[in-house]
């Protein structure tokens, strides 16, 4: 249960709205407001930011008044592994090349499943790597190296 509010979902969503909304109009102050007839770059975001902040405040107020369903299970491990494997792919794809980046992406992300098995994941990694090299590199001409710059290519 959320110790702060009766409805954790409303509370946290409200926080996000307030941060994004107030952030938008605070940052927009640097941009030049213009006038209604000649809208400057800050005009539209300032209106939206203010609206979003109000919605955030309402959402937080509501979270104290009305109780809602709990947030429930969060797949922390799944989320972390999906994000880490994706970022890792982005970081090494040019340097190491697809032949290393793709199997890593497949295997690291596969750890997110409770039914992970080395045997299947290795096989899958091999199939996907070959498939992607044939389809994306040879077929569609995506400019990605098979072996990257770290290996002197």
């Amino acid at each position: 249960m959320n110790p702060i509010a009766r409805n954790g979902k409303d509370f946290w969503a409200g926080i996000i709205y307030i941060v994004a909304g107030s952030g938008a109009w605070i940052i927009s102050r640097d941009y030049g407001m213009g006038s209604a007839g000649k809208m400057g770059p800050a005009y539209f975001p300032t209106i939206l930011g203010a609206l979003l902040t109000v919605i955030g405040i309402i959402s937080i107020l509501r979270s104290f008044l009305k109780s809602g369903s709990p947030i429930g299970v969060v797949a922390w491990k799944g989320l972390a592994l999906i994000v880490v494997s994706t970022l890792l792919f982005g970081m090494i794809v040019r340097g190491a090349g697809l032949i290393i980046a793709l199997p890593l992406l497949v295997i690291v992300s596969a750890f997110a499943s409770s039914r992970f098995s080395w045997k299947y994941s290795l096989a899958e990694a091999a199939v996907i790597t070959v498939f992607c090299i044939v389809v994306f590199l040879k077929g569609l001409g995506v400019p990605l190296p098979i072996l990257g710059s770290w290996f002197g290519y």
Partner: protein
């Protein structure tokens, strides 16, 4: 007859071997992802957008369209055979379809779904051909004020139709509008919300956001409970429904087609709402309402007709007004822009071959789908047993390479990961990502129309209320919001989604 001439043009465009091939490829892929649970049309089309750069515009759009309505077909197969809806729009089909399969009538259920879908697809194609041109003609007279109000109406409708609370849908819409503004302001050249990151000067790519929020976030959500997925696949024996079945499915198919076509046009819904509404209404009006949930053929015919009809009529606002009614349509608009076509009411007059080609291709696509789905059902059934732990790393790979190849930069891959996290947070907080994505693509357009409208009126904001069409559109939007926030309506809305 102008219509006949136009359809002739559509026929000659869509009947070229190349376009037929892409239509077939589209519906094949659509069926495939429809059958595979956990991979929806939004993520698939987002993944394939980079590939379509290399195709001619007509072929690209024909294929992408095929994926969308094809996925509605495929989704029903898994609903019926294994009680796992491949698509959100097929959730209700599982209620009665799976029961029919357990009674050994899987074949009849599949045929019913296919016949209903085919009929609905044909009718929706005709509706598109009849109603799109006049609508576009009206829209051609629209000034900036009308377009602004139209977008407001679209967003308000998507708020009302979103699942969960109105407040959060509103918050998500405004958040989406703000995110859409990231990048260089076209009028002043000011870089907004880029935090000094050069890569953000062109804004955040729509496809990147869509893949993060619908691809990555969806995978993470599915990983929450990998629970036991029933792998007992019911055998398909006799595909032919009995004479009694045929009689019973006519009414539901007609009603489902009507409901689905009407609701498909509404922003924010597409095919999902139609299938839910059609099932609920059929349950009320049917003579056999007691059988619902126990294998009533009406419970398969109505929602399956509705979701297919809705998938197709949701092209109307996209093709005639340039305004997307759901995230898939927003991606289609993205595909048009990539191809150098400015979406809007002028598409019909400036690109008649494209417009009519897409419409006519839908009918052929539906024909392909019947052929693909009925005789080849065995192949699709086998696909259902692909375990998710094998599927999601592959989805992740396609998302990553696809996003990378958009601009050949790893930066987009990082942004996708960011939106994956954000999308998952929103899922956990019951905030629907679909309205946000719509607002994201409408954001820059809305600002531009608002700017132009106010420039013409010399800063007088009443222009939105004094021009009759604009005022009417805003009034409609206000009405929708009021209707959606009345407590009684609100309960009904929740019930409709829960069913």
């Amino acid at each position: 007859m102008e219509l006949l001439a136009n359809l002739g043009l559509g026929l000659s465009t869509s009947l070229t071997p190349l376009n037929l091939l892409y239509c077939l490829a589209g519906v094949f892929l659509g069926t495939l992802i429809g059958v595979l649970p956990g991979l929806g049309p939004t993520a698939t089309i987002a993944m394939l957008l980079p590939v379509t750069f290399t195709l001619p515009p007509v072929s690209a759009l024909i294929m992408l369209a095929g994926i969308y309505y094809g996925s509605q077909y495929g989704g029903s197969t898994t609903s019926i055979l294994v009680n796992v809806p491949g698509e959100a729009a097929s959730v209700v089909t599982a209620l009665d379809g799976y029961q029919m399969a357990r009674q050994g009538r899987a074949g009849a259920a599949l045929t019913t779904a296919a016949v209903g879908s085919f009929f609905a697809g044909t009718v929706a194609t005709i509706i598109l051909a009849l109603f799109a041109p006049p609508l576009a003609a009206v829209a051609l007279k629209f000034g900036p004020a009308e377009f602004f109000s139209l977008m407001v109406l679209g967003l308000l409708a998507s708020i009302v139709l979103a699942r969960g609370s109105l407040l959060h849908a509103m918050g998500m819409v405004i958040l989406g509008l703000l995110l859409g503004l990231v990048g260089t302001d076209v009028n002043s050249g000011t870089q907004r919300f880029t935090f000094g990151i050069l890569r953000l000067a062109d804004g955040i790519g729509f496809v990147v956001v869509a893949m993060g929020m619908f691809g990555l976030a969806e995978i993470t959500r599915n990983l929450e409970n990998e629970g036991d997925r029933s792998t007992v696949v019911n055998k398909v024996t006799n595909l032919l429904p009995t004479r009694e079945d045929w009689k019973r499915m006519i009414g539901p198919i007609l009603r489902g087609t009507g409901i689905g076509s009407a609701l498909g046009i509404l922003p924010g819904s597409g095919s999902i709402l139609g299938s839910f509404a059609a099932y609920a209404i059929e349950k009320k009006v049917s003579k056999n309402s007691k059988e619902f949930g126990k294998g009533a053929i009406e419970g398969v015919a109505a929602p399956e007709s509705a979701n297919n009809a809705g998938a197709q009529t949701s092209f109307i606002p996209m093709l005639t007004l340039g305004i997307p009614s759901n995230p898939v349509m927003a991606l289609m608009i993205g595909a048009m822009i990539i191809q150098g076509i400015q979406p809007g009411p002028s598409v019909i007059t400036e690109q008649p071959a494209l417009f009519w080609g897409i419409i006519v291709s839908m009918w052929f696509g539906n024909l392909f789908l019947v052929i693909l789905n009925l005789p080849m059902i065995g192949m699709w059934v086998r696909l259902v047993s692909v375990p998710y732990q094998m599927l999601f790393p592959a989805i992740l790979v396609f998302c990553s390479i696809g996003v990378f190849s958009l601009n050949n930069t790893e930066f987009d891959v990082y942004v996708m990961a960011f939106f994956g996290v954000l999308g998952y947070i929103f899922v956990k907080l019951d905030c629907e990502p679909a309205p946000m994505l719509l607002a994201f693509i409408l954001g820059p357009m809305m600002e531009e129309y608002m700017r132009r409208a106010l420039l013409l009126s010399r800063g007088d904001p009443t222009v939105f209320f004094t021009r009759p069409i604009s005022a009417a559109l805003l009034a409609l939007g206000a009405l929708a919001i009021i209707a959606g926030s009345i407590p009684a309506m609100h309960k009904k809305r929740e019930a409709a989604f829960r069913e």
